[in-house]
């Protein structure tokens, strides 16, 4: 079962989830748990003959609303806590062969509304400190179900990367009185070489400090810290630029590009995070059409990424790749 184990050497929590060893692993087509349930057919997770968007609690969650007691007692040095939280699955198409990039913008926009609704619902929990919306796409990323889907983790702590990012933004603000994301956006727009696409509310860039060759960040122009803060015009614009970025990825090498897509938002603790800003990051794992970027010794062990490309070059390639 799940529990949180504290690592005092890195000051971070590790979630153990031993039951996930038994989770569904590439089931045959007739037993796809994310497909709609057909009359007389295999009862899937979704008890309806079709659907638009559904969100449900993961059958094999790392975090549970009612978390079990830990399997052992911790110590003062290495405490153990129940893994309380929420793990949701987001299905946005009944088509097992579909993908987000091929849906119409109106459908992506609908998904943006659902993400915002889930954020508001989940942050109402006292035990939720951070909401992480993401999608793993492709076998290369490690998905265990082919049916396209996203996930939402509502953590009982602020995860390490978010904590580091928020801390850096806070220190930058204390030092300069400015928002680091606003300054990055201003510099990227002025320079222009790393801009992939933009509209009235968002800018997509391969960041100056990209760790993956085709990494793209979608930065909000407005002072927003969570997806629930966007107005209807911004939600439409977000759907539009998301679709453009995903289509460019697919057209880059004329195949469906695997990626990790993730949202970085403010923590859910009631504090003012005006110094921070919402953004979305994409990490495609390929560095060439047939070579994967592995996280090996330097990346996995030292946390020091080595990027085989310059952001200016990959941004130009993506900028010149048509979205349709």
């Amino acid at each position: 079962m799940s529990e949180l184990r504290w690592n005092p050497t890195l000051e971070e929590w590790v979630i153990t989830a031993t039951h996930r060893q038994d989770r569904t692993f590439f089931p045959p087509p007739g037993y796809n748990p994310l497909a709609p349930t057909q009359p007389g057919g295999f009862p899937t997770e979704i008890p309806a003959p079709t659907y638009e968007i559904v969100v449900f609690e993961n059958k094999f969650p790392s975090l549970r609303r009612e978390a079990p007691e830990p399997s052992l007692e911790g110590t003062e040095l290495m405490p153990v806590l129940p893994a309380q939280g929420v793990c949701e699955v987001v299905c946005y198409t009944p088509d097992a062969e579909g993908e987000l990039a091929r849906l119409p913008v109106s459908k992506v926009e609908e998904l943006v509304y659902v993400w915002a609704d889930r954020f508001e619902e989940l942050e109402a929990h006292d035990f939720v400190k951070y909401i992480y919306i993401f999608e793993n796409k492709g076998k290369e990323i490690g998905v265990t179900l082919n049916h396209p889907h996203g996930q939402i983790y509502a953590y009982p702590f602020v995860p390490p990367i978010a904590e580091k990012e928020v801390g850096a933004a806070r220190r930058y603000f204390e030092r300069t009185g400015r928002n680091v994301y606003a300054d990055i956006l201003q510099q990227e727009l002025k320079d222009g070489r790393r801009v992939v696409s933009q509209n009235a509310h968002f800018v997509a860039v391969v960041p100056f400090y990209a760790r993956y060759p085709y990494e793209v960040h979608i930065l909000a122009r407005g002072e927003r810290t969570a997806i629930s803060e966007f107005d209807s015009e911004e939600r439409t614009a977000l759907a539009q630029i998301l679709k453009i970025v995903m289509e460019k990825y697919n057209n880059l090498w004329n195949r469906s590009m695997p990626y990790i897509m993730l949202m970085h938002q403010r923590p859910c603790d009631g504090t003012d995070y005006g110094f921070y800003r919402f953004h979305i990051e994409f990490y495609p794992p390929y560095r060439t059409p047939d070579k994967l970027k592995y996280l090996a010794g330097s990346e996995a062990g030292a946390g020091a990424f080595i990027n085989d490309t310059h952001a200016e070059v990959t941004a130009q390639t993506l900028r010149e790749t048509a979205p349709l």
């Binding site: 709609p36 109402a124 929990h125």
Partner: protein, 74 residues
Amino acid sequence: MRLEKKLILKEDGRYLVFYHSAESASEEQSKAFAEVAAEATPMSAPTAQETGATVNEPSANGRGSAGNKGAANV
């Protein structure tokens, strides 16, 4: 965009939320959503929402509340 949602509880206690947009749904999808029998009992989590609810349009300035839950991490 206006979304409707219905919540059901599975036999093992997990919740499932169906979302529906009359603007973009096919006839078949609208029919399937109409036939979803939403759970009569409001769920205790993630919030005590009413079933068959409507997803609110964002406000003019788009600002949501951050809640007031204290800053301590686990």
